[in-house]
C-alpha cells in the first residue's frame, strides 16, 4: 500500500502539470456547481473529450476534481439566492437561505464550506482505507434495505413540519405523489402522463427543485412590496468561530459517515445522502422545530454528507467497476474510452491510477476551501445589486440552465409549473422540506419496495424480516411514534400554560 502511494506521489511530482489540472478542475467544478442547471454531471460530461488528450490518470484526476468542486459549488447559490446550483445542494437551501436572510450569509457560507471540506476529506479517507470491504458490505444492501433506508428518511417529514404535523405530512405526500409521474419502474406502464411523450421521464428532479426553490422565492419576493426589508448585507465569508463549529461536531461526524456509506451504495448518490443526513440531524436534534429557520446543523448535515458521498461513490467504481452515482457513471465511460477495464481487478492492475486519484481528491478538497472562499465572495457581490435586478436575472439563469440540461423545452415548463406550486406551498405555509424529501426519496422507496417484492415473491414477511431492513424499519417506526408523542406533549404543555394564564388573568 505504501509502495502504491509512493508511485502515486512519484507520478504527481513527475507531472507537475497534474497539480494545475486539479486546480483547474476544482474551479471548473465550483463554477458548474454554482450555476443552476449546470450540474456536476454536465461539468464532467463536457470535459470527457478533453481527457482523451491526457493519460488516463490525469483524465481521472480532472474528472474527480470537478466532482469535488461541483458538489460544494451548488451550496453557494443555494445559500445566497435560494437557488440550488446542483441537486446535491437542494437540501442546503433549506437552512442556508434562511440563515443568509437573517443577515448571516457569511456564517452560512462558512459553515457550508468547512463542512464540505470536512465531509470531503472524511469520504476520501474512507475511500483510501476501506474501499474493498465497504464495497463488499454495500453488496448486502438489496432492494429491501434500500426501501428501509428511504423510509427512514421519509419518516422525518413528520418532524420537519415546523409546527403542523398535518401540513408536513400533506407536503410530503404531495412530493411522493408527484414522484410517481412517468413510467412505472417495474411494468413500464405509463402513469399520469396524459399522453405527453415528454412526461414519460417523470417530473425531472433538477427542474422541479429549481422551480420550487428559486422561482418560488423570486415570486414571493416580487409579491412583497418592501423588497429592501430583508436585503442580505453581511457577505464576508468568515469561517464560523471554533465554538460555533464545534457545536456541530456530532452532526458532522454522523452526516459524513452517512454520506460515505450512502455514496457507496450503487444507484443512490450525494443528493439522497444529503437528505437522509438532514432527516437524521432533525431526528437527533433537541430543537427539531427550529430546522428550516436557519440553524447551523441544517447546513452542516447536508454539506458534509454530500461531499463525503463523493468519496463514497468512488468506492464501488474503483473496487467493483460499478458507478455509485450518475457522475461516476460518466467517469466510468471516460475510463472505458481510455481502454481501462473497470472491475474488481482495477485496484490491482492500475494501482498507480487509483492511488493517484486518492491523493488528487485529497488535494482537491483542500483546494476547494481556498477557492470556495473566493468564489463565494465574487458571488456575494451580486447581493449588493437591488433585488429588482437580481430577481429577473435569477429567473433567466434558471430557465436557460434548465433548458441547457437536456435541451428540452418541457423541462422549462416543469420548472415554471413547480415554481407556481412552490409559491402556493409557501403562501399556505406547507414545509418545502417535506415536499422535497418526498420527491427525492419517493422513487427510491417505490422502486426498491416493488423490486424486493418481486424477488421475495410478494412475501411481505420475508421482505421485512431481513436483519438490516428490520432494524431500519423498527427505527423508523419508533422515531415516528416518538415524534408524535413529542408533538402531543408540547401541545399539552401549551394548553396547560394557556389554561393557567387564563386562570391567573
Amino acid at each position: 500500500m505504501l509502495e502504491a502511494y509512493g508511485s502515486a506521489l512519484a507520478y504527481l511530482f513527475g507531472n507537475p502539470s497534474s497539480f494545475l489540472l486539479i486546480i483547474f478542475s476544482v474551479i471548473w467544478g465550483i463554477a458548474f456547481g454554482s450555476v443552476p442547471g449546470l450540474t456536476g454531471i454536465v461539468g464532467v460530461a463536457l470535459l470527457i473529450p478533453f481527457t482523451f488528450v491526457f493519460d488516463p490518470t490525469a483524465g481521472l484526476l480532472l474528472l474527480s476534481g470537478v466532482y469535488v468542486g461541483s458538489t460544494f459549488g451548488g451550496s453557494i447559490s443555494a445559500i445566497l439566492f435560494n437557488t440550488p446550483g446542483s441537486p446535491e445542494a437542494a437540501c442546503t437551501a433549506l437552512d442556508g437561505y434562511p440563515m443568509a436572510k437573517k443577515g448571516q450569509a457569511g456564517k452560512a457560507l462558512g459553515i457550508a464550506l468547512a463542512s464540505s471540506a470536512i465531509g470531503g476529506i472524511f469520504g476520501t479517507i474512507v475511500l483510501m482505507l476501506l474501499a474493498p470491504p465497504m464495497a463488499q458490505f454495500a453488496l448486502n444492501f438489496g432492494p429491501p434495505e434500500y426501501f428501509a433506508l428511504a423510509v427512514l428518511g421519509i419518516t422525518a417529514i413528520s418532524a420537519i413540519g415546523g409546527g403542523s404535523v398535518l401540513k408536513g405530512l400533506v407536503a410530503g405526500l404531495l412530493g411522493l405523489g408527484i414522484a410517481t409521474v412517468g413510467l412505472d419502474p417495474i411494468t413500464g406502464t405509463e402513469r399520469y402522463t396524459f399522453g405527453n411523450l415528454s412526461l414519460l421521464t417523470g417530473i425531472s428532479f433538477v427542474p422541479a427543485i429549481i422551480g420550487t426553490f428559486a422561482l418560488a422565492e423570486v415570486l414571493q419576493r416580487a409579491g412583497e412590496r418592501t423588497s429592501t426589508a430583508d436585503v442580505i448585507t453581511d457577505v464576508s465569508t468568515k469561517l464560523p468561530s471554533m465554538k460555533e463549529f464545534l457545536a456541530t461536531r456530532f452532526t458532522l461526524l454522523r452526516s459524513s459517515s452517512i454520506g460515505a456509506f450512502i455514496g457507496a451504495l450503487p444507484g443512490v448518490g450525494a443528493t439522497t445522502a444529503a437528505f437522509i443526513s438532514y432527516s437524521e440531524a432533525v431526528r437527533w436534534s433537541k430543537r427539531p422545530q427550529d430546522f428550516g429557520t436557519g440553524v447551523a446543523e441544517g447546513i452542516a448535515a447536508p454539506e458534509s454528507a454530500n461531499n463525503s458521498a463523493v468519496g463514497g461513490s468512488m468506492i464501488p467504481l474503483l473496487a467493483l467497476g460499478i458507478p455509485g452515482s450518475a457522475t461516476t457513471a460518466v467517469m466510468l465511460g471516460g475510463l472505458t474510452i481510455h481502454g481501462i477495464i473497470p472491475g474488481p481487478l482495477l485496484m490491482e492492475t492500475n494501482t498507480q491510477l487509483v492511488y493517484t486519484v486518492f491523493i488528487g481528491m485529497f488535494v482537491a478538497n483542500i483546494l476547494m476551501l481556498i477557492f470556495g472562499i473566493r468564489a463565494a465572495r465574487y458571488f456575494a457581490l451580486v447581493l449588493k445589486a437591488p433585488y429588482a435586478l437580481v430577481g429577473p436575472a435569477i429567473v433567466v439563469l434558471c430557465m436557460t440552465g434548465v433548458y441547457a440540461l437536456n435541451s428540452n423545452i418541457v423541462d422549462v415548463g416543469v420548472m415554471l409549473a413547480m415554481g407556481a406550486f412552490g409559491f402556493l406551498l409557501r403562501k399556505l405555509q406547507y414545509p418545502i422540506a417535506s415536499f422535497v424529501i418526498g420527491l427525492v426519496l419517493g422513487p427510491i422507496a417505490e422502486r426498491s419496495l416493488r423490486q424486493g417484492l418481486v424477488i421475495s415473491d410478494y412475501d411481505y414477511w420475508d421482505f421485512a424480516s431481513r436483519p438490516i431492513t428490520a432494524v431500519l424499519l423498527i427505527g423508523s417506526l419508533a422515531s415516528l411514534i416518538y415524534g408524535f408523542y413529542g408533538q402531543w406533549k408540547r401541545h399539552q404543555i401549551a394548553q396547560a400554560a394557556k389554561l393557567s394564564r387564563g386562570q391567573s388573568g
Partner: protein, 319 residues
C-alpha cells in the same frame, strides 16, 4: 533534405488545391453533427457515438457529438429528435428499444431514414461466483422444477432485456422472473446474491468476468465468442435466442438523399479506422458487427420488427 521538404510542401499544396473543388461542391458537413440518444452519458451508446466521433472528426473535419436525453423509455429523446430541423445535422442513435417502442405503438419507425447499423452486440446470462449453478443446464433444470423462483436482473422495465428474457422463457418452456434495475444496481444486486443472475453484454461485464466474480452461463448468439470459448450459445442448446442489442445511426425520414450518401461514406470510413476497431475489439463486438448501409439496414429493421412483434405478442404486451 531541402528538396525533399519542398517536394513534400509542393505535394501538400497540390493535394489541397486539387481537393479544393471537391470540397466546395461537397461542403456538407460544414458544422457539428449532433446525435441524440436516450441513454446516460458514459453509457454504452454514448461511448459508441464518441468512439465513432473521434475518427469521424479526423476524416470529416467536423465533430460528431452525443446528446443524451434520458429516460421515459426513449420517448423524450424521440420527441426532441422530431422537433428538430431536418438539415442533416441531427441524427439519432437507435437500437432495439426503438423497434420495441414501434411495436408497442409509441413511435413510428417510418419517421427514420436508416443510415448505418454499426454494432451488433451479444448478451449473456451471468451468475455471481457464489452461485450454485455451474452450467446453464443446472440453471434451467432448477428453473423448470421451480417456475418463477429464479430472479434475473435486467435493466429497464419492458425494454430490450425484458424482451430477450421473455423470448428465452418462451423458447425454453421454463420460467425465470425478471427484476428491472438501473444498470449499476443490477450488477451490485447480482454480485450480492440478491438476484440469481443477470442479463448483460460482454463489454460492460468484462471486468467482472476477468476477475472471476461473475460466470457467464450462456451467450445469445449463433456462434461461441472466441474470448469465451467454454460458454455455450443458446442456439447449440436448441433454443433460438440470438436477439442482440445493436447500435445504429438514423436520420429523419425526409433527409436529403445526397446527405445520407455522404454521411454513410464518412461513417463507414470512421468505422474502418484503427481507433474505432480497437474500441470495438475491447468489448468483443467485432464478431457480428457487420456494417450495414441505408438499404440493408432498412431490410434489417423490417425483419427486426417482425421478430419483436412475434415475441411481444407472445408475451402479451401488445394490444
Amino acid at each position: 533534405m531541402l528538396s525533399l521538404k519542398t517536394a513534400t510542401v509542393a505535394a501538400f499544396v497540390a493535394g489541397t488545391v486539387l481537393a479544393a473543388p471537391a470540397a466546395i461542391a461537397q461542403d456538407y458537413p460544414s458544422r457539428t453533427i449532433e446525435v441524440i440518444h436516450s441513454y446516460g452519458p458514459g453509457g454504452g451508446t454514448d461511448r459508441f457515438i464518441r468512439a465513432v466521433g473521434v475518427p469521424f472528426e479526423e476524416i470529416a473535419g467536423q465533430s460528431m457529438v452525443p446528446i443524451s436525453i434520458q429516460g421515459g423509455g426513449g420517448m423524450p429523446a424521440y420527441a426532441n429528435f422530431q422537433q428538430r430541423r431536418v438539415d442533416g445535422y441531427t441524427l439519432m442513435a437507435i437500437s432495439p428499444d426503438q423497434i420495441i417502442a414501434h411495436v408497442l405503438g409509441r413511435i413510428e419507425m417510418d419517421s427514420f431514414q436508416p443510415l448505418a447499423r454499426v454494432q451488433y452486440d451479444q448478451g449473456m446470462i451471468l451468475v455471481p461466483a457464489s452461485s450454485p449453478f455451474q452450467t446453464i443446464q443446472e440453471f434451467m433444470e432448477h428453473a423448470r422444477e421451480n417456475p418463477g423462483e429464479l430472479n434475473v436482473g435486467i435493466t429497464n422495465a419492458a425494454g430490450f432485456d425484458d424482451t430477450v428474457m421473455g423470448l428465452w422463457n418462451i423458447e425454453t418452456g421454463a420460467e425465470v422472473t425478471t427484476v428491472p434495475f438501473g444498470s449499476s444496481e443490477m450488477v451490485s444486486n447480482t454480485l450480492g446474491g440478491q438476484v440469481d443472475a443477470m442479463h448483460e453484454e460482454y463489454g460492460p461485464a468484462r471486468g467482472l468476468i476477468d476477475s472471476g466474480d461473475m460466470r457467464p452461463l450462456v451467450v445469445f448468439s449463433d456462434e461461441r465468442l472466441p474470448v469465451l470459448p467454454d460458454v455455450p450459445t443458446a442456439v447449440e442448446l436448441g433454443y433460438d435466442v440470438t436477439l442482440g442489442r445493436w447500435r445504429a445511426f438514423a436520420m429523419p425520414a425526409d433527409a436529403d438523399p445526397a446527405q445520407v450518401d455522404t454521411l454513410f461514406g464518412l461513417v463507414s470510413e470512421a468505422v474502418a479506422s484503427d481507433s474505432y476497431q480497437e474500441v470495438q475489439e475491447q468489448a468483443a463486438l467485432q464478431y457480428r458487427s457487420e456494417l450495414l448501409g441505408p438499404e440493408e439496414f432498412q431490410a434489417f429493421i423490417d425483419s427486426e420488427i417482425e421478430v419483436y412483434t412475434r415475441v411481444l405478442d407472445a408475451l402479451g404486451l401488445t394490444d
